[in-house]
Assembly symmetry: C2
Homo-oligomer: 359 residues x 2
DNA sequence: GGCGGGAACGTAAACGTTTTCATGGCTGCT
DNA sequence: AGCAGCCATGAAAACGTTTACGTTCCCGCC
C-alpha cells in the first residue's frame, strides 16, 4: 500500500525523495474519497461535479503532484495533442526561424511539437513519416522530396496535413507557399526602376520549387518592364560557391550586365566575393540583390539588398492551419493563401545613398 | 465486420481509398489465423514463434498496412521512445545546429524528438517541463533559467536528464558544457602571442554562465601571460548594440588598447561597426576577436577571428548521453566531459596576412 | 510405453485513462 | 403526497498493446 505524506509546503529537506511510485488517477480518487470518474471530470471539463468536490479533488491532485498518464489518455481519447513537423536539411537561419514560429503557435494552441529534420532522401522522409504515424494528430511537411504520389503512399488520408513551400497541386492537401514569384518580380522591377536594365539572374537548383518561382518572377518582370533586353540566367544551386562561380562567369561575359539578381542571399554573397576579388565595385560598377534576407545580408560590405520572407509568420500560420483543421475536422480545405514577402533595399542595389552606418 | 481487400500491388486507381478504419493487432491476428499474442511476438522480438508463422504474420501486417498504436504500446511498455528537448530562445544559428545534432543522434537511436523552444521565463520553462512529463523517456535541457532548485521542483527524479551549458553543480544531473574557459583563454593567449598585450574584453550578460566562463578565461590568460597590464572589462549583453557602444567607449579611453576580445561574435561585429564609423582600421589600428563562429563571422569585412564551438557535436553527444542513461538505468552518472572548442584565426586579429580571398 | 521437457501458441490480465450508463437523492410542481 | 426530472456520483466498459501463465504438442530418452 502506498502512503502519501507530502508536506503542503516545500519539502522539509530530509524527508524528501521518498520512493513515490508513479501516482495514478486511482490514488487521487482514493485520497479524495471519490471515484476515478469524478476525478477525471473534475480535472478535465469541471462539469458534472460539485464546485466543492471539484475543488477538493484538485487540491488532492496538486498535493500528490498527480500528472495524468499521457499515453493512457491518448489511447482512449484518440488524440495526441501533438503535431509533427517534417523538415528537410535546411539552412540554419531559415530553419530556426521556421521552428520558432511553429513552436510559438503550437504552445499557444496547447500542442506539442514532434520534429524530424535533416532527412535528405525520399526513403528517409518516408521512414520518418511512418514513424510519426499514430504519435501525431496532424503534420507539417516541408521537404523537397514530397510530391502527390509520395504523400498518397505514405500518409493516411485522414491525417490533417499542411505542406510548406511545396509544388503539390492536389486539392486534398493544404499548401502554404511563400510568394517567391511576386517577391522576385518586385525586386527585378526595383532594379529596373533604379536604372539597371541589363539584369542577370543566378538560378537555384533545378528541382527546387522556390528557385523556379523566383526565376519565373524575374523573367516576368523582365518581359514586362525591360522587354528590350533578353533575360540572362546562370546556373546555380543556392551555395556560396555557385554564386562565386556565377560571378566570375558574369565578369567574363563580353557584354557585362549592370545588375545581378541571385536567387538567394548565399549566392549573392559568393558573387560579391567574386566581384571584390576582381576589383569590381558594388554597387558602383554593378548592382546586386539576393533573396531571403538571412542575417548575413546585413553584415556583408556593402549590406545586401534582398527580399525578406517573414519566416516566423510562415511557420506560425502553417501550424495554425493544421490546428484549425483538427479543430473542425469537416475541413473545407480552404486553398492556402500564398505568403507575401517584401523587398528590403540596402546598398548593393545602388538605390539607397545612405552611408554605411550602424543599421 | 470489416473486410480487407487490399490489392497486393499498387492501388488500382479507382478502388483506392476505401474507408479503412484504423486496423489493430486483432485484425492482423484474425487475418493470419493466430492470436494477438503471436502477432505481437512476431512483430517485436521474433522469438517464440515459428519462422513460418512469423513470416506469414509479417506479410499480413504489411498487406494491411498495420501500424501499432503508439499510445497503447507506451501505456503497457512504459516507454515512449521519445526524448524531450527544452531549449531557450536561442540565436538562430546556434539553435539550428544544436537541433540538427540532437535530431541526427536521436534518429540513429530510434528515438523521437519532442521540442519546446523559445520560453523566456522560468515559469514558462516549468510549464513546458510539466507538459512534457510522461511523454518522454528522457530530457535535454538548455536554459538560462534552470538551477538546482528549479530542477528539483519540476523534474521527477527518475527521469534521465542531461543539461547543456548549465552552471548546475549537482552530481545527480549529467551536465555537458562547452569549455568556454579554455576557449577564451586560448584566444586571449593567441592575441598576446601575436603582439597585443593591451587587450580589452567585452563581457556578456551578468547572469549568463557562458559569459562568465569566457570572462574568467580572459582574465586567467591575462594574469598568466600579460601580468603587467591590468585586464579591462566592459559591460555587454551579447547584442550587437552593446558591442557598438563598447566599441565607442573603447575609442574614447585615454589609453587605447591594441586589441579587443568580445564575449561573442555579435558584439564583435557591433564593435567593428563602431571602429569603422570612427575610421579606425581593423586589424591595423586595433585587433579584434569574437566567440562562437557564427556564419556572419566569415562574411564581415574583414573576416572575424573567433572561437569555434562544434555545436552539432554538442547536440549529438548530449542526446547520446541521455540515450545511454536510459539504456542502462543503473546510471553511474559519469561526470560529463566539457566540450572542446578551437580558435579560428581569420583577419581581424592581425596574425594572418592572407588576402581577403574566397574562403 | 511412459515420461520429462521444451517449443509454439492461446488466454487473459494489466496498463491508466475517458465515457456511457445506471443509480440514488434532491427539488419543485401538481 | 406523489411524481417527474435533474444532478452528482459510481460502476464498468473500452481503447490496443504486451506479457505472464497455461495448454498442447512433439520429441527423445529411459
Amino acid at each position: 500500500m502506498k502512503t502519501f505524506t507530502f508536506p503542503p509546503l516545500g519539502d522539509s529537506g530530509a524527508s524528501a525523495k521518498l520512493v513515490m511510485a508513479t501516482i495514478t488517477i486511482k490514488d487521487v480518487a482514493r485520497e479524495a474519497n471519490v471515484s476515478v470518474a469524478s476525478v477525471s471530470r473534475a480535472l478535465n471539463g469541471g462539469s458534472g461535479v460539485t464546485a466543492e468536490t471539484g475543488q477538493r479533488i484538485r487540491d488532492v491532485a496538486l498535493r500528490l503532484r498527480y500528472i495524468p498518464h499521457a499515453a493512457a489518455r491518448m489511447l482512449i481519447t484518440r488524440r495526441t495533442n501533438t503535431i509533427g513537423a517534417l523538415l528537410p536539411d535546411l539552412y540554419g537561419e531559415f530553419f530556426s526561424e521556421l521552428i520558432r514560429g511553429i513552436d510559438l503557435a503550437a504552445r499557444a494552441h496547447g500542442l506539442h511539437l514532434l520534429v524530424s529534420s535533416s532527412h535528405d532522401s525520399s526513403d528517409d522522409a518516408a521512414a520518418a513519416l511512418r514513424a510519426m504515424q499514430g504519435r501525431v494528430d496532424g503534420i507539417l511537411i516541408m521537404s523537397a522530396h514530397v510530391d502527390d504520389a509520395f504523400l498518397r503512399a505514405n500518409l493516411p488520408e485522414d491525417l490533417p496535413t499542411v505542406l510548406i513551400n511545396s509544388p503539390v497541386k492536389d486539392e486534398a492537401y493544404r499548401v502554404i507557399n511563400v510568394d517567391n514569384y511576386a517577391g522576385a518580380r518586385a525586386m527585378t522591377k526595383h532594379l529596373i526602376d533604379t536604372g539597371h536594365t541589363d539584369i542577370a539572374f543566378i538560378a537555384g537548383p533545378k528541382n527546387n520549387f522556390d528557385a523556379q518561382q523566383r526565376e519565373n518572377g524575374y523573367r516576368a518582370a523582365m518581359a514586362k518592364y525591360a522587354s528590350k533586353v533578353a533575360p540572362v540566367v546562370l546556373a546555380g544551386d543556392f551555395t556560396e560557391e555557385a554564386g562565386f562561380r556565377a560571378g566570375q562567369e558574369i565578369l567574363a561575359r563580353k557584354k557585362r550586365p549592370n545588375a545581378v539578381f541571385a536567387a538567394n542571399d548565399m549566392m549573392a554573397v559568393g558573387c560579391m566575393h567574386a566581384f571584390r576579388e576582381a576589383g569590381v565595385c558594388v554597387p558602383q560598377d554593378i548592382a546586386l540583390a539576393g533573396f531571403d534576407d538571412i542575417p548575413v545580408a546585413r553584415y556583408v560590405a556593402p549590406p545586401l539588398s534582398t527580399v525578406r520572407v517573414r519566416i516566423v509568420d510562415l511557420g506560425r500560420s502553417a501550424l495554425e492551419a493544421v490546428a484549425t483543421m483538427l479543430e473542425n475536422p469537416d475541413h473545407p480545405t480552404t486553398a492556402g493563401p500564398t505568403f507575401g514577402c517584401e523587398i528590403v533595399v540596402r546598398e548593393t542595389c545602388g538605390a539607397s545613398s545612405a552611408p554605411a552606418s550602424h543599421e
